[in-house]
């Protein structure tokens, strides 16, 4: 049923990747999105396509992240063809720097466990000693003791990725409706579903994808799904452009293709607050300056606070409503990393009407409180 008409709620990187994937399969798709000032993690993130450290205790999710990373270069090239926008993805590998032996030990333990949980040979990482690290990254501070490295890791310009997805989606004939807040999802009289927005407009479709970031909990509840997402604030600093220096991203510092350095990121449970805090920014600057003292005289051009879309265990949720078949949910953290899998794999499942068995462990059932 490739002519099934889809309504996707949410135009962040999750909604846009799925919308693009569905349009690419030939479905008529309407993507409904909020206003310019809505919370959008997709405009506030770090742009890592990151595999190491993902999925501790959840090998299905670790595998899902690796799968997306493996698809990413084709994804980038296809999006550039279709939209004219290069999202600057590359996969030089990535490192997590340690500023003390304790930090390094802890990281190595986590990655070791993730490797142990993965099928043999599917997830590799290396522990890099300081001397070796100096051949990989210039200008490291004296406190850097070493790092973990994984060849799976890469990075993208997540803002250009969002641009590319929107462009490619519309080029494929997808309809984009912005500035509308979805308030209702109901079974339509003649079959399918009616999605209504705050201003009274109703969009009807055969199937619905709920991918509205922090709006998901409320929307999913309307179709009998428990999707406990909450905001986790992260603050980020960006500097002015400089000549290329870092050829590889690290977990907290990366240089974009334009030349700016991004310094991240804090974690705080502060509800829906997106104001930056000087004390937090100071801490981010200080920590990353210890890693890369050459950042010292670069000027900060911007700082911001964004809201991660976080589930209780940190892993995404993919599910279909039991009461409203044909209504799907896709949400969670690391939507940039999983974007290629969302566009190519998840959209295909939604098109077929059934989510693949390998994602069963990511259904919302895991949050149902047993009576």
């Amino acid at each position: 049923m490739s002519d099934a008409r889809f309504i996707v709620i949410g135009g962040g990187v999750v909604g846009a990747a799925i919308s693009y994937g569905l349009a690419r399969l030939g479905h008529p798709v309407t993507m409904i999105d909020g206003a310019d000032d809505a919370f959008r993690a997709s405009r506030a993130n770090f742009g890592l396509v990151w595999v190491q450290s993902k999925g501790l205790g959840k090998p299905d999710y670790a595998a899902w992240s690796r799968r997306s990373a493996a698809l990413y270069e084709d994804f980038r090239a296809e999006l550039e063809d279709e939209s004219g926008v290069d999202c600057a993805y590359h996969r030089p590998g990535g490192v997590t720097l340690a500023l003390s032996d304790d930090e390094l030990e802890e990281q190595v333990a986590i990655l070791g466990q993730i490797r142990g949980e993965a099928p043999a040979g599917e997830f590799e990482f290396e522990v890099v000693e300081r001397a070796q690290l100096d051949n990989m990254l210039p200008g490291l501070g004296p406190e850097v003791v070493g790092a973990t490295y994984s060849a799976h890791d890469g990075e993208t310009n997540s803002l250009f990725l969002l641009h590319a997805l929107h462009g490619a989606f519309q080029r494929r004939g997808g309809a984009y409706v912005q500035g509308h807040h979805v308030t209702g999802i109901e079974a339509a009289a003649g079959g399918g579903y009616a999605v209504s927005t705050a201003d009274g407009t109703v969009h009807t479709g055969d199937r619905v994808v709920v991918a509205a970031g922090l709006g998901n909990q409320e929307l999913a509840a309307r179709v009998g799904l428990e999707v406990p997402v909450r905001p986790v604030q992260g603050q980020v600093i960006v500097t002015e452009r400089a000549d290329p220096l870092l050829s590889m991203p690290t977990l907290n510092v990366k240089q974009t293709r334009e030349g700016t350095f991004m310094l991240g990121a804090s974690q705080a449970e502060v509800d829906y607050d997106i104001t930056t805090d000087a004390a937090v920014l100071k801490r981010i600057a200080a920590r990353n300056l210890r890693a890369f003292p050459f950042l010292s005289d670069l000027r900060v051009v911007r700082s911001w606070a964004g809201l991660r879309v976080m589930t209780p265990d940190g892993f995404p949720i993919y599910d279909q409503s039991p009461s409203h078949p044909g209504i799907f949910i896709a949400t969670g953290h690391s939507g940039v990393t999983t974007a290629a899998a969302h566009a190519y794999v998840l959209a295909d499942y939604f098109s077929k009407g059934e989510i693949g068995a390998e994602l069963a462990g990511l259904s919302s059932a895991r949050f149902h409180v047993q009576a």
Partner: protein, 465 residues
């Protein structure tokens, strides 16, 4: 953590000085922060230096400039904690972030007055990024601060009352102005006329007409109704092209000075989170304020041209007005005293600002060039983004400026959208066939002044965490 000061004033222009003097008069010693090394603001830039080192130039710069000397002298003499060379990069949560001599500090303040002034309205023209193309105010600043004037063939273009003052000052300073190209549409005059009542004999209007007459007496060509202005050249301006009365003209030029009026510089107030609305009549964002000029943020007031363009003469009175509100909230003044002072200040502002409504209509900037027709015109100077690139992204039905910023990096460069925000806002309104709104402007975040990673990492006087 440092103890909080009662009153911190940002800006030592006429508004900030007026506010500081009022506070001092009532026995409160305010802190005044200004990134410049000397008081005066934009209008009285380097007034002390000119008076001391080249007093002959007071005649060149005109009586209004010289009048600043008395205000600056009073400011210097009063009991005020004046801190020159201090750039304020953040305002919020009862304090400010201040950068001076490479050290960032947090200053807690119970009351804050932002008297950060105006900026020239950035209007993109083809070729406006070429060296040799400057704002007219830039040339004036160079004349006041460094006694520099443009050499060679100088063309002045644009509109607004300051344009004629600046041209007059340059001419008095010995600059040979090749032509003055006036861009305000003729229709503006008709819309402005109803506001002209009561302006007969107004000294400021008379002064403006006097500059125009003096410039014409020098034989400088005044060309009205100029459109499609463009600067051309390789690596610097060599020619100015424009259309007028159906014909196209190319003038050789070494310097092109542009000016389309001044607008409040919204950067610090907007980044602090103070609510703003788009003032359609004046064509710029304006902060919401109460009867004491306090913004939507408790304890943060605005004064001077940063509030509304009322002009330099009204600025000290606006500063006093805001200061009275602070003193009242601090419990340093009786309500009746504060209200009496406010009534006087209000009357003074009204008097000084009388020609403003007329001038706003007369010099209203038309949609073209604010929505550049030419796809190659650079809109975002920092990111070198053109009108065509922006229009292509707008065609994807981008919901607003913040999404546009993400898609293109528009407004993401070091100027933090100061130069492109008004244009981008107009382009959104044009796309959607409606008037400009506050929501058409980029969200601003601190720091609004360049601070380095090290300065941020070593920021002092922050609450211990």
């Amino acid at each position: 953590m440092s103890a909080a000061v009662d009153l911190a004033i940002v800006g030592a222009g006429p508004a900030g000085m007026g506010a500081a003097l009022e506070a001092a008069r009532h026995g409160l010693r305010p802190v005044v922060l200004d990134e410049h090394g000397a008081p005066g603001g934009q209008i009285y830039r380097n007034i002390e230096g000119v008076t001391r080192d080249r007093p002959g130039d007071l005649a060149v710069l005109g009586a209004d400039y010289g009048a600043g000397a008395a205000l600056v002298a009073a400011f210097r003499a009063a009991d005020i904690d004046y801190r020159p060379g201090s750039a304020v990069f953040e305002v919020g949560s009862g304090g400010l972030g201040v950068l001076s001599d490479g050290v960032a500090r947090r200053l807690e303040a119970r009351e804050i007055i932002l008297a950060t002034g105006a900026m020239e309205r950035p209007v993109p023209q083809p070729g406006w990024t070429l060296p040799g193309v400057l704002s007219a105010g830039a040339a004036q600043t160079l004349l006041k601060a460094s006694n520099l004037v443009p050499a060679g063939r100088v063309v002045v273009a644009g509109s607004g009352p300051l344009l004629f003052l600046l041209a007059w000052q340059l001419a008095e300073a010995g600059v040979d102005i090749a032509a003055i190209l006036r861009t305000s549409p003729r229709g503006n005059l008709w819309r402005a006329l109803p506001h002209a009542l009561g302006l007969v004999g107004n000294p400021d209007v008379a002064k403006g007409l006097g500059w125009i007459r003096a410039l014409k007496r020098r034989g400088i060509p005044f060309l009205e109704g100029v459109t499609a202005l463009a600067a051309e050249g390789d690596d610097r301006v060599e020619r100015v092209r424009y259309r007028r009365a159906g014909g196209e003209t190319v003038l050789p030029a070494d310097t092109l000075l542009l000016h389309e009026g001044v607008v409040p510089n919204p950067q610090l107030a907007r980044a602090s989170g103070a609510a703003h609305d788009f003032d359609a009549a004046r064509g710029h964002l304006a902060a919401r304020h109460d009867d004491w000029l306090q913004t939507s943020l408790d304890g943060v007031a605005l004064a001077g041209d940063g509030l509304r363009i009322h002009g330099a003469k009204a600025a000290p009175a606006l500063g006093r007005w805001a200061a009275l509100g602070c003193l009242l909230r601090l419990g340093r003044l009786e309500a009746a005293t504060a209200e009496r002072g406010r009534a006087e200040a209000r009357a003074e502002v009204a008097r000084a600002a009388r020609p403003q409504a007329f001038l706003h209509e007369l010099y209203r900037v038309p949609d073209e060039p604010m929505t550049p027709r030419d796809d190659d015109t650079v809109v975002c100077r920092c990111e070198a983004l053109t009108a065509g690139e922006i229009r292509r992204a707008l065609a994807l039905d981008v919901p607003g400026p913040n999404q546009l910023k993400a898609f293109l990096r528009a407004g993401m460069g070091p100027c933090q959208s100061r130069m492109c925000a008004p244009t981008v806002a107009r382009m959104f309104a044009a796309r959607d066939g409606r008037g400009v709104t506050e929501g058409d402007h980029f969200r601003l975040r601190p720091p609004v002044k360049p601070i380095t990673v090290r300065e941020l990492a070593e920021m002092q006087d922050l609450a211990a965490d």
